[in-house]
């Protein structure tokens, strides 16, 4: 991610848009929300809560060059599930409420209004052992780092056997270490 991978990024974006169109057909009302990342969970838990969760997601695994949609992609299935699953809906709504309560206690404003990342991290720290935080963190870990679409952005190759592995594709290549 610290390198110029513009081509891969564009490719990923095209793939994302293609996938979103398919998702929109399947996911009904939520589908259109996909293209508006901040409102991804609006139907289930409301605009404010969904925007709060997106901010929280970016604070848990902050990659400034990754677009919101990648974080929203992780949350969308959660929101869809929450529409049918009252326990999950409560976990998300109560979790956001707890986050705001903690932010209010420490900084006198809602989580989304706390401008400094370090301050928001302080708020999150207080909640990191809760099932709510663990659920969001676990889903994000898989959704960001186990996302095939994002692997090129992290410089990870993913499955290689169908390309014949790296035997003839540069496994020995290293042009910076001495003696290489």
């Amino acid at each position: 991610m610290n390198k110029n991978k513009a081509t891969d990024t564009n490719l990923s974006r095209r793939r994302f848009l293609a996938r979103s169109t398919v998702a929109a057909v399947g996911a009904g009302a939520l589908g259109s929300a996909l293209l508006s990342p901040a409102a991804w969970a609006a139907k289930a838990i409301g605009d404010q809560a969904s925007a709060t969760l997106l901010r929280m997601a970016r604070d848990i695994y902050p990659h400034d060059t990754l677009e919101d949609k990648y974080y929203a992609q992780v949350m969308t299935p959660l929101a869809e599930q929450a529409e049918k699953d009252d326990d999950l809906k409560a976990l998300l709504k109560d979790g956001v409420a707890a986050l705001d309560a903690q932010a209010n206690r420490l900084f006198g404003k809602a989580y989304l209004e706390v401008t400094a990342e370090a301050d928001r991290v302080t708020v999150l720290k207080a909640l990191e052992d809760t099932p709510f935080f663990q659920k969001i963190r676990g889903d994000l870990m898989m959704g960001i780092y186990n996302n095939e679409e994002l692997w090129p952005r992290f410089g990870y190759g993913g499955s290689s056997w169908e390309k014949g592995g790296y035997r003839y594709r540069g496994y020995e290549k290293n042009d910076w270490i001495k003696g290489a």
């Binding site: 410089g155 990870y156 790296y166």
Partner: protein, 524 residues
């Protein structure tokens, strides 16, 4: 033609488990014309089931039956029900292993006489020496096709980018990095192709270049017509007669039906958690503490390896995933030199994991900008998994949970593991040396990872000269019951600084000769 044996055939050898120990034993006995049934708890995988995907393969092949992680370490929090990282399937952990095929060193068979008594540890010499095992190491290297050995005639893998970075860092601190002897072909050999460097050794080799019992020994054993492998067959208990000789095993198939398979002898090779668990679960009125447990040592002396991971963030691209998983070793501190502040040694093993596993293991449960920044540097990472000798400690153990049962109705295993002071000192020393190498290669940040679920599990049915000190004799035959054998890494008296598989295979080859001889002499 598929061999099928009768449940009432009491002339058979029954082998529990199909990994490095059980798979090898079945092949070696089959070659001698001895008929065996191999009972494997897991399913049978095909080459096409092997994918280059860490989490998919993790859920597909891992032994995920519930276990309790116990002890004073962080693993109880980060992995409360998965103390080990093993495979449930025909081939066992040989599907998952990285192929590192090292012989133990001479002194590692004699840790007790070399270092004397170590307070708080239960160290014992093996009842065999390196010289006893050397001819079998040679046979094992030929069987597995270990690179860089005379026995196989295969060259080492060519250096990957990951290897080059570590080799240069090592040179700069006066250490030496060498190519790893791997049971992964570098030339087409024994019906298996050369390595194509997919970088996914530990997810199963999609090309079959890596030796595994799934790819090699089991199909060869079956081809003799002397072996029947029954997958999806979980052994519940071993039965015995009034004289104490074992008579067969009770197992359950995938439809939940129970069967009793008669046997002339039983060899248990279910890895260091399941093997002692089976002996303990087979307790009877004659053996109230479990089979072969007159010493009280069944399930005790559980060893892993020190097992930390350590990754440096380099100034430029390494792409460590474009490599055999373990391309090289730094063996500079593999000797026994107490002046370092610990006995026993360690191998720094260059090892990569993919981004998905890195995100889970770099800082288990972690989050925030520092972790995210390190993961953003994944393509620049280089590093090690450290294979350090773990001291035998009696309280490190596998026991049965008093109340909780698994899907088979068996008490779940409680796996207790703490670090001996020697382990702690070694971990500190090895982390420092690894850090120095990575920094010498240019690392701007070095991340130390705590031990993750153990793939190397040893010692819970250990070999001993005297029956009161261990569970099996120098042939892996239990001291208490002469037709009951242990054929896996649970036999190990010490854990050594090397990956266990080659030693498990060498012991199985040697044990097969002994079993054949004893059967011929009507001793069993």
């Amino acid at each position: 033609m598929k061999t099928a044996f009768d449940l009432n055939d009491d002339s058979l050898v029954v082998i529990v488990g199909s990994g490095a120990g059980g798979g090898t034993l079945s092949h070696e006995l089959a070659k001698k014309g001895i008929r065996c049934v191999v009972l494997e708890a897991g399913k049978r995988f095909e080459r096409k089931d092997i994918e280059n995907d860490e989490w998919k393969m993790f859920s597909k092949i891992t032994w995920l039956d519930k276990r309790i992680t116990a002890g004073p370490t962080a693993l109880t929090q980060t992995s409360p029900n998965l103390p080990t990282w093993l495979v449930k399937g025909v081939g066992g952990a040989t599907i998952h292993w990285a192929g590192v095929a090292l012989r133990f060193q001479e002194h590692e068979f004699k840790m007790r006489s070399l270092n004397g008594e170590i307070a708080g540890a239960n160290v014992l010499d093996w009842p065999i020496s390196y010289a006893d095992l050397a001819p079998y190491y040679e046979k094992a290297e030929a069987k597995l096709g270990v690179t860089g050995t005379k026995a196989s005639g295969q060259p080492y893998h060519e250096p990957s980018s990951h290897f080059k970075v570590i080799a240069e860092g090592s040179r700069r601190v006066g250490a030496h990095c060498r190519p790893a002897p791997l049971a992964i072909n570098t030339t087409p050999r024994d019906g298996r192709p050369a390595c194509q460097v997919t970088g996914f050794c530990m997810q199963g080799c999609r090309f079959g270049a890596k030796w595994s019992t799934m790819e090699s020994s089991i199909p060869k054993a079956e081809a003799t017509g002397n072996i029947e492998v029954r997958p999806d067959s979980m052994v519940l208990r071993i039965e015995h007669d009034d004289s104490g000789k074992v008579t067969g095993v009770l197992y359950v198939d995938k439809d939940g039906n129970q069967h009793f398979q008669k046997a002339r002898l039983v060899a248990v090779a279910a890895n260091s958690i399941e093997s002692p668990r089976l002996l303990l679960n087979s307790a009877s009125s004659l053996f109230p503490q479990g089979l072969a447990n007159s010493s009280g040592q069944v399930g005790k002396n559980y060893m892993t390896h020190t097992g930390t991971g350590i990754y440096g963030e380099m100034p430029d691209t390494v792409s460590m995933y474009k490599s055999p998983v373990v391309p090289g070793l730094v063996s500079t501190w593999a000797d026994n030199d107490p002046s370092r502040g610990h006995v026993g040694g360690y191998e720094l093993e260059i090892l990569h994991i993919g981004l998905p596993f890195m995100s889970a293991f770099l800082k288990p449960g972690g989050w925030g900008r520092e972790l995210a920044n390190s993961l953003a540097n994944y393509d620049n990472m280089a590093g090690f998994w450290i294979c350090g000798e773990d001291m035998a400690v009696e309280s490190n153990s596998v026991t049965l949970h008093p109340t909780e049962k698994d899907q088979y109705g068996l008490p779940i295993p409680v796996v207790y593991k703490g670090n001996h002071a020697n382990d702690t000192a070694m971990i500190k020393h090895s982390n420092e040396q690894a850090t120095a190498i990575l920094e010498a290669a240019g690392a701007t940040k070095v991340n130390v990872m705590d031990r993750y679920p153990a793939s190397h599990n040893m010692g819970t049915n250990r070999m001993s000269a005297r029956p009161q000190d261990g569970v099996v004799n120098k042939w892996g035959q239990t001291h208490d019951i002469n037709n009951l054998f242990i054929s896996d890494g649970s036999q190990f008296t010490s854990s050594a600084a090397e990956n266990p598989t080659l030693t498990i295979v060498a012991l199985a080859i040697r044990q097969a000769e002994y079993i054949a001889d004893q059967m011929q002499q009507q001793m069993i």
